[in-house]
Symmetry: C2
Subunit: 879 residues, 2 copies
């Protein structure tokens, strides 16, 4: 039997979203439920993918199938395409599996032509409306289907208004509209070389193709990327009979939610307009009335609507967002879908639906989008102010939240402004480096011109919970001259800008923000998530404060403490630099001896903050040049401090320079060159654990993690230093401290040889930042430009540094898990890359059999929820 590509609404149902799209499936479901739905048919998503497979053509058998369904539709609606007395008019709308509001194209009133418009005028008893509809249809169809921009028609309206001496469209009468139709059609023919298509069936087929094409328009592609929707899904097309809410005072149209989408309050919420079409509600020329008022105006329709709304919410077990039209007192349902809602509303609705008995806890967990929780944890711009503001440019949404402050171009000046002038600062940099840490901490927000989702700025900002827009290529920055230009506008030091870290938008000027607020529902809801997840959630934290914050957010351990971050503090970096410039092992050891007490006390603080939760400490990782100054005057000052000449120091700095530092002298390679560094760090970890255990009675088992391992021999070498140092300290202290030594798996070779590595490693932690970089050969610091071009060319659908690449990097991870377990069945497996906070990556980790994910403190709640959803989904999938 030939494959079926088209379905009447009465042939589908609500579970067929993959085939019919969300809108089509819900129209079918409402039809089954006996609700008043203008009847039509849905062309499936498979027809869309087939359209692309066939080089953007509709295959003859599908065209024939559509023609057949047009006849069915004419029968059901007892109206006929092109019939002057009883014309069938339709809307043609996209409808993907996942809701993508406003991203693709819609055409209304399709079926109009020079003859049918006469019939419509008669039917509505309104010439002006009929010809206005016809004019709009020509304009919309030309724009969407024929690539003649909507805006290019506007000049004709201006001309006619000038001729008549009027200002507003509303002042044009039926004759003017008739005239416009003529002018539009003439212009269309000039542009395209053929007449505007009069045959409704041809109009329909062309409209269907246009909707298919709109699946790949740039804004749809961007939306899909931001929302993890695969390009391979395609969109369905819904062809639905038009009903008219503008047939006089017994007609109307509106939208409504079953609960308040802002607060979650259990109360019908919405608005309507009498004698209007949907687009009038959107256009905002007339002020709509509250849905409650419909009770007075048309009690029957209102009661019927309320009944339907309640039924739909119970049926879908979720808050519904519905469109309806009343035509001559008769109610029609045009759409229903699970309504978009604020994070606060999402939690309230989920909790309420459970207490109302409508949902189980597990079902409620699946209803909240993990990423939405960000909004609860970070300040957000006031919705109204944000709507009114126009972004001056856009970068990557690198760390969520809203920030507003004065622009500063160096970390020092930002600190100065915040600490001494009590200003709010936004730090704007070409790219940040570890030297900027303090300034980043002081600032409200961070804006960089270069760098991707795992660039230094992005990673550090997320760790701090500070708003960050990274890799904003729209900016032409002049750091030394203290200004930048964004899309032609110049912004000087001290000028106000606002950053939206959740969208990546950059605004010139101030936008007011509201603080983050956590409600009681949050705790209740997250407790359910914790009940059902099996993945542990750890955090990446480098300081006792970060660690405490993460515990507050529910972290169950630390998966990554970056020991180097501690060395950047102003009172420590001199000692660290002395270590770097040491010429002999003795000099280096002397410098390290000075660092030991600081590092030990940091670890003591972290161990205390984590109160017995496991703590994984990664040994020194970044290349040493990152710790050295670069500016002439800073070098001179440091040389003086170190008692060497500036030339000597310059020669040392230059000898540390690397062409590809990401693949250079860093990670465990530093421990191989300078075993005394690993020795000092081991000493600090072990002594801190002994001290804290003594003071608190805790039984801390520190986990020492060696970064950048590529070979077993290398791991053995470094592990030997650690074990010998640790055992000597433990023996001397006469205590019984346990500790573990494990490794990052972040170099492809380590994943490939994980069976060998596991003979020595007691745990693996997948460093998916580096693993992704190496597996793709793509530097995260340089990825911005490349990714832009790759998104534009439709090569990449997602940024692999933000969303784990399941096919390539994932294959390596699965291989390493399998090989590692083969050698050491109980090996502890986790992930500490930035992907640890990304819901779809967390699902992968759950399915790959990892024990925990580790993410920045502010992402811990998201990870908890995502882990619960992964656990619930995988049980379902396994049913």
């Amino acid at each position: 039997m030939a494959k079926k590509y088209v379905y009447l609404f009465s042939e589908g149902n609500g579970s067929m979203k993959e085939l019919l799209g969300g809108k089509g499936a819900n129209l079918a479901e409402m039809t089954i439920l006996g609700m008043p739905v203008p009847q039509g048919f849905t062309i499936s998503t498979e027809a869309c993918t087939r359209y692309y497979e066939d080089n953007e053509k509709i295959a003859p058998e599908i065209e024939a199938e559509i023609q057949g369904y047009i006849r069915e539709m004419e029968k059901i609606n007892a109206k006929t395409f092109g019939d002057i007395n009883n014309p069938l008019l339709v809307s043609v709308r996209s409808g993907a599996r996942a809701s993508m509001p406003g991203m693709m194209d819609t055409i209304l009133n399709l079926g109009l032509n020079d003859e049918v418009v006469v019939g419509l005028a008669k039917l509505t008893n309104n010439d002006r409306f009929a010809y206005d509809s016809y004019r709009r249809f020509i304009q919309m169809f030309s724009d969407v289907v024929m690539e003649v921009p909507k805006s290019s028609f506007e000049k004709f309206i201006d001309e006619i208004k000038e001729k008549k001496g009027v200002k507003n469209d509303i002042e044009l009468d039926a004759d003017d509209m008739k005239e416009l139709v003529k002018v539009y059609k003439k212009y269309f023919k000039e542009k395209k070389g053929f007449d505007f298509p009069a045959d409704p069936k041809i109009q329909l087929l062309e409209a269907v193709k246009a909707v298919f094409r709109s699946w790949n328009n740039p804004r749809a592609i961007t939306y899909r990327r931001l929302n993890d929707i695969p390009g391979s899904w395609g969109t369905a097309v819904n062809v639905q009979a038009m009903v008219f809410g503008n047939m006089g005072e017994t007609s109307g149209t509106g939208v409504a939610f079953t609960r308040d989408p802002s607060t979650g309050e259990n109360k019908l919420y919405g608005e309507f307009l009498m004698n209007a079409q949907g687009e009038d509600v959107v256009a905002g020329i007339r002020t709509p009335q509250s849905i409650d008022q419909l009770k007075q105006v048309m009690p029957d329709a209102y009661n019927q609507f309320v009944e339907i709304a309640n039924k739909l919410e119970k049926h879908y077990k979720d808050m519904q967002d519905m469109e309806f039209t009343i035509e001559n007192k008769k109610l029609y349902m045009l759409q229903t879908r699970n309504g978009k809602r604020t994070a606060a509303a999402a939690l309230k609705i989920a909790v309420d639906l459970v207490s109302e008995g409508m949902l189980t806890e597990k079902e409620a967990i699946m209803k909240v989008e993990p990423k939405q929780l960000d909004a609860l944890l970070h300040p957000q711009f006031e919705a109204k102010a944000l709507k009114a503001a126009k972004p001056a440019g856009k970068g990557l949404a690198a760390s969520p939240g809203a920030a507003c402050g004065k622009v500063y171009f160096t970390a020092e000046e930002a600190c100065e402004a915040v600490n001494n002038k009590k200003e709010k600062a936004i730090l704007v940099r070409l790219e940040t480096s570890p030297e900027d840490i303090e300034g980043m901490h002081a600032s409200e927000g961070i804006l960089t011109v270069r760098g991707g989702m795992t660039s230094h700025a992005a990673v550090v900002a997320r760790g701090m919970g500070t708003c960050c827009v990274a890799g904003c290529g729209d900016i032409d920055i002049h750091e030394e001259d203290k200004y930048f230009v964004i899309n032609g506008e110049k912004v000087n030091e001290g000028d106000y800008i606002s950053l939206d870290g959740s969208t990546g938008n950059v605004y010139i000027g101030k936008i007011p923000a509201v603080e983050a607020e956590i409600t009681g529902n949050f705790g209740k809801f997250m407790a359910w998530a914790d009940k059902y997840r099996t993945l542990k959630i750890r955090t990446n934290a480098d300081t006792p404060a970060d660690a405490a914050k993460a515990v507050e957010f529910g972290a169950e351990g630390i998966g990554l403490t970056r020991t180097e971050h501690m060395f950047f503090e102003p009172d420590r970096i001199p000692a660290f630099r002395k270590m770097i410039v040491a010429k002999t092992v003795e000099q280096r050891k002397a410098a390290l001896d000075n660092l030991l007490p600081m590092q030990r006390s940091d670890f003591e603080g972290i161990f205390k903050a984590m109160a017995g939760h496991p703590v994984t400490i990664r040994f020194l990782d970044p290349p040493l040049h990152e710790f050295m100054p670069t500016k002439e005057e800073d070098i001179a000052a440091l040389a003086k401090e170190l008692k060497i000449t500036a030339d000597e120091l310059k020669s040392i700095v230059s000898s540390l320079h690397e062409i590809n530092p990401m693949m250079g002298h860093r990670g465990c390679r530093l421990a191989v060159s300078y075993p005394e560094i690993a020795e000092m760090q081991t000493r600090a970890v072990i002594e801190a654990a002994i001290n804290v255990n003594k003071k608190t009675g805790l039984n801390i088992i520190p986990e020492i993690m060696i970064p950048l391992i590529c070979d077993l021999t290398e791991l053995k070498f470094v592990k030997k230093i650690i074990v010998e140092t640790a055992n000597a300290i433990i023996a001397k202290a006469g205590v019984n401290l346990k500790y573990q030594v494990g490794t990052m798996i972040e170099i492809p070779r380590a994943a490939l040889l994980a069976d060998e590595i596991a003979t020595e490693a007691e745990f693996f932690s997948f460093g998916t930042n580096d693993l992704t970089q190496m597996t793709y050969g793509l530097s995260r610091d340089d990825a911005g430009r490349i990714l832009d071009d790759y998104f534009a060319a439709k090569i990449f659908e997602a940024d692999p540094t933000a969303r784990l690449d399941k096919s390539g990097v994932g294959k390596l991870i699965k291989m390493a898990v399998e090989l590692g377990k083969k050698t050491r069945p109980n090996i502890k497996l986790g992930i500490c890359g930035e992907h640890g906070g990304d819901p779809s990556s967390i699902e992968f980790c759950h399915n790959a059999g990892l024990a925990y994910v580790s993410c920045s403190p502010f992402r811990v709640p998201i990870a908890r929820l995502a882990a619960a959803q992964a656990a619930i989904s995988s049980v379902k999938a396994g049913e």
Copy 2:
């Protein structure tokens, strides 16, 4: 049964090299053959590995076994350890599986003590000799076994000479020697706190341990690395009864080769000294006589030796290098092994042995070390002059040959010196960049301070066949002030230096060199190699001249044409830079239009030179910043030429800067951003092929290779540009040109997803340079320092950028081969990384089922031979 660790010479045989080492196996074989060998035993290589497993201890059961064998040895030799009247004295020598001459330690005359020396004096009737031997034994044993350096004893000799008022050791008499023995033993006790060990059995055990330890001394480790000998093999220890060539005028000692090791001439070659021990021959105080003269001196011994030599050569089917001693007219064989020989001798001997019927062609092929062929293709320093010269420093042996010339620090100055002043130049740079190409070409040799075996300098120099020493960290370079300092010595611009690209040695001053010379044996021998190999050998060539050179060396195609190298020529780079700074697609296309004819004519030249052999052309690969100037004045000049301001140009150059350019905007990523570049390159390839086919009647099928692919969608995108462009040109020309589109596999992800990639790629070429970098996360440009430390720490045994890492990178390659063949069973597979010229990597490629390897022109003969050896070995292994 307990494992056996010790073997009498009479228990072994020549095939037991793995267990007994080369020396031990050959001593056993000579014993079997009934030759006069002083008897003893061999402690196996397994005992050595066991020694390391047991934390550098000899296990009690092995010690017991050794003690047992000492008793056996005493019986066989009818002498006893410590017996004053008939003492057993032994030599203790290392002997690994592969010959490592001079790398490990040897102890002679072991068994001497205060009593035994008296017996020895009586036996030799020579007090001075006996006590001199004892003194030397104390010195040698203290040095090798007890870590009291040999040199620290020298002061006592000086003292005694001063006291006596003599100058030479030879003037010291027996009493002086007796005195020295006393002083030495006193000094030993002071140093070590215990008496010099008098018990011969203890001496022996300690000596055995010392030989085991010497397996891991730094020079042995370096030798193994340079000669691909695994550290896991371990060394055997040979304990052999001493015989004395210094027992008067009827005794003597010598070394001889069955053929001339310099020329290969079939004639006994060697020298001997009467009344002497082996070390006297080496010391060179007395001038040895030619082996022929032995005929007169001791005809019986001579005839016996000639008979043995002939028998050994026939037995081993190879030229032998033998040590012998005559004690009281009796001939003893101390060692035989396959003799080291020059490249020319190696070929002559191989060819002669075949014509003498001693070897088959296949056996002859296995006798020549592929790397040796380098010496035939490049100039070499005169052996004598080289021996006399002392290296001032050492870098990586990056490109073989010998070079001597005046130092210049910039490419321009080197060109100027060569072209205008008719000087010979050595270009010395911190690191080279593509801008230096012309200067590199003009120079005799290239010396860099940074960079590894696959750094820019190394790769380009090997391609040109120019001598290069890379990554010479001994140098402190001051390019701007035009001098460098190497181990304390200052070398100015214009000073002469000499480079040995085969050892990495750097010499101050001139060393005369001899030109490369290819003999008739070369052609004959290489023809055999070609007969038995199955791998095709292609070359990496970027110009018609390189291509012609490679064909001369036997290349069967081009595996890699780097199209970017063409753009660096002075008459082309302006057009290329215009392309880079273009602001619009139109500007870029205009610049590309200027490049098209140049690129097309290059391809025409290459196609003609290759005369129908396959040619793989890789599209633009390096990041664009490599093409831009960096110096202030060059930028100003270029800006003027491009008619933009210097600031604008600087801003463009700075926008091209990347933090990790190796993982940045390069390879196919450039084609995604600028499809017009791929278009132009396709046009150049296809038009060139059409033109050459027309003119010559050849049927060229160009292979277009897309670099840096990480994803199928990306390959599809670029392939589409190529196919559409190519097909349009072909259709317009009305010809029937075939072409292939394939991809580099150089990103780990491409290897992991090779089954997907193969749906579009018609061939794979493994770019093992990048694949190794990414798989290890190790930048080849920054690897120098890291590798030094890793070799020192015994973590790496080989440089993975020079020798293919079979376990990690090899696993990826095997995976990609398997996945690629699954999708496309006939997919063409090759390798074009630098490993394509490395014999052990070629063996891997053969076994992995690749169709060809591609290497620089001068490595083609090496690759042909290595491929033949791989084919012969694998058939053997499969027997």
